[in-house]
């Protein structure tokens, strides 16, 4: 039995360094030095040598403490940041033969609009607070070539309903919404064009527990119903446990361990993961 060719997203050696790296920057940083700052050049290794395959419909978690590089990985993949080196391939783009990180600006915009969605920790990064909530969704639909006004309004109300936002608030701006509602509008916008891949960067951080549960429910439901593959970045192990099939553990910009989520949580192999899991309340 082989499951080798079913990847949706393939990432190899993804690396982001701030500042001018020296010849030994990668050798002198990482978890064994407990640092991601190069002692020779002071350059900062946000992430290095990141490789993994994400399968269609799979939910992958990335955990690690602040500064471990977990958000950098998704921001590189969503083109919010420029890679230093490495590659990423998406099966539906050029049949998976072209490195998306080297695509032209125009192609990258296309990939973002059709093939990916992103939900940020801070709704201000994902939403335009000058537009209404419906307008935010419409923006994403228009970028993907939807021009019919009736069609756009219909899709926007469907998405708001799906994410439990009262449709009568479609014309209000996200600034008038609570934090949980803002996250749910962000999710509607991110999935507006039915992308096969969704990035979620600390989406429940800072929300009340009951509001958190509602956002997590919504994510689980969407995953089950639409089969969207997701990368969930979180420092919260209960979020990871609830949502993901597989987990990468990051420290000082590197992956220190990867495995099935229940295995990572119950039989962690790396010293850092053992510490992380034993710190769980």
């Amino acid at each position: 039995m082989s499951t080798d060719n079913q990847w949706l997203l393939r990432v190899r050696n993804l690396t982001k360094i701030y500042g001018e790296p020296g010849g030994r920057t990668l050798e002198l940083t990482g978890p064994e030095f407990n640092s991601n700052i190069c002692p020779d050049t002071d350059s900062i290794v946000a992430c290095a040598g990141i490789s993994f395959d994400l399968y269609a419909g799979e939910v992958l978690g990335i955990v690690g403490e602040s500064g471990s590089g977990k958000s950098t990985v998704v921001k590189l993949l969503y083109f919010d940041l420029e890679k230093t080196s490495g590659g990423a391939w998406l099966a539906p783009y050029e049949q998976g033969h072209a490195n998306i990180l080297e695509a032209s600006g125009q192609q990258k915009r296309r990939i973002r609009n059709y093939l990916m969605g992103m939900v940020y920790q801070n709704p201000r990064e994902g939403l335009n607070f000058g537009f209404s909530s419906g307008g935010n969704i419409a923006e994403k639909l228009i970028m993907a070539g939807q021009m019919h006004v009736g069609g756009i309004r219909e899709r926007a109300s469907y998405l708001l309903e799906k994410t439990e936002i009262p449709v009568r608030r479609m014309d209000d701006t996200p600034a008038t919404f609570s934090g949980g509602m803002q996250q749910r509008v962000q999710i509607s916008k991110a999935i507006a064009n039915n992308p096969p891949l969704l990035f979620l960067d600390e989406v429940t951080t800072g929300l009340d527990v009951s509001v958190q549960a509602r956002v997590l429910d919504l994510i689980r439901e969407l995953q089950q119903e639409l089969g969207i593959a997701m990368i969930v970045v979180s420092h919260d192990l209960s979020v990871i446990r609830m949502l993901t099939d597989r987990t990468l553990v990051m420290k000082n910009g590197r992956i220190v361990e990867s495995g099935l989520t229940d295995q990572i949580l119950q039989d962690p192999q790396h010293a850092y993961t053992q510490l992380l899991v034993s710190s769980l309340l």
Binding site: A213, Q224, D262, Q269, L275
Partner: protein, 237 residues
């Protein structure tokens, strides 16, 4: 035909954060589970029963040895299989039922039970119908079907847990203490439901301390002591 063949399986925990302490949980385990066979796993607390079960489910990574699983699409060594391969098996034919329900907030009892069917059964109402039948058989009051199991008693949660584990008639069922907090009548129902799986060829490994359950449920017992299978008790009883 064997669905599971375990050869020389060992599990050692390396606790890096406890001064590199090493704990050996399983020593050189050999065992099999046949198609349609129910194997009872016994032993004192700490003898390695759950460790063995978790190695079979890949929740624990075995340190050495092999776990050959004869799946619907071929044989696979669960010790070495790729994570994605294990995920695919867990979704379709392999189910682990722990002693305690790990509840999903804000999902009703019916949906918790029906969820394993949702992946293949597009008609959710049909899946829910099957879930209600099981909960009815298990004597869970119908008033609780649409409530959230997080608020349930231990025995009620256990019934939801068992129903969820058997609803899709898995090829391999790993079940930990399925009758521990149940009254005698419900015990019999659970035993009957698990024995019903034999006709579908399900291989079952069941941990239990309860003689009543083991007598009626298991075709054969394995007894663990300090991480080893005791030879005298491995024969059919």
């Amino acid at each position: 035909m064997n669905i599971i063949e375990v050869h020389h399986l060992s599990k050692v925990f390396d606790l890096h954060i406890l001064h590199e302490k090493r704990i050996t949980a399983l020593h050189q385990i050999d065992m099999t589970i046949g198609e349609g066979e129910i194997v009872g796993l016994t032993g004192k607390s700490g003898s390695g029963k759950s460790s063995l079960m978790k190695c079979l489910h890949r929740t624990y990574l075995a340190t050495s040895g092999e776990i050959l699983y004869s799946g619907l699409s071929g044989a696979v060594d669960l010790v070495k299989a790729d994570d994605h391969e294990v995920i695919a098996l867990r979704r379709s034919e392999m189910r682990y039922c722990s002693q305690f329900l790990s509840v999903i907030p804000r999902v009703s009892a019916v949906d918790v039970v029906a969820e394993p069917l949702f992946r293949t059964e597009k008609n959710k109402d049909l899946a829910r119908e099957r879930a209600r039948e099981l909960l009815e058989a298990l004597g869970l009051p119908s008033a609780l079907w649409d409530a959230y199991p997080v608020t349930f008693s231990g025995g009620e949660q256990q019934r939801v847990n068992v129903a969820r584990a058997i609803i899709e008639r898995p090829r391999l069922l790993l079940i930990d203490e399925p009758t521990a907090s149940l009254d005698p009548k419900t015990k019999d129902v659970v035993i009957g439901l698990i024995r019903d799986l034999k006709q579908y060829g399900t291989a079952v490994l069941c941990i239990s301390h309860d003689e009543y359950t083991l007598d009626r449920l298991a075709d054969r017992r394995l007894h663990l002591q300090a991480g080893r299978i005791m030879p005298s008790v491995t024969e059919a009883i």
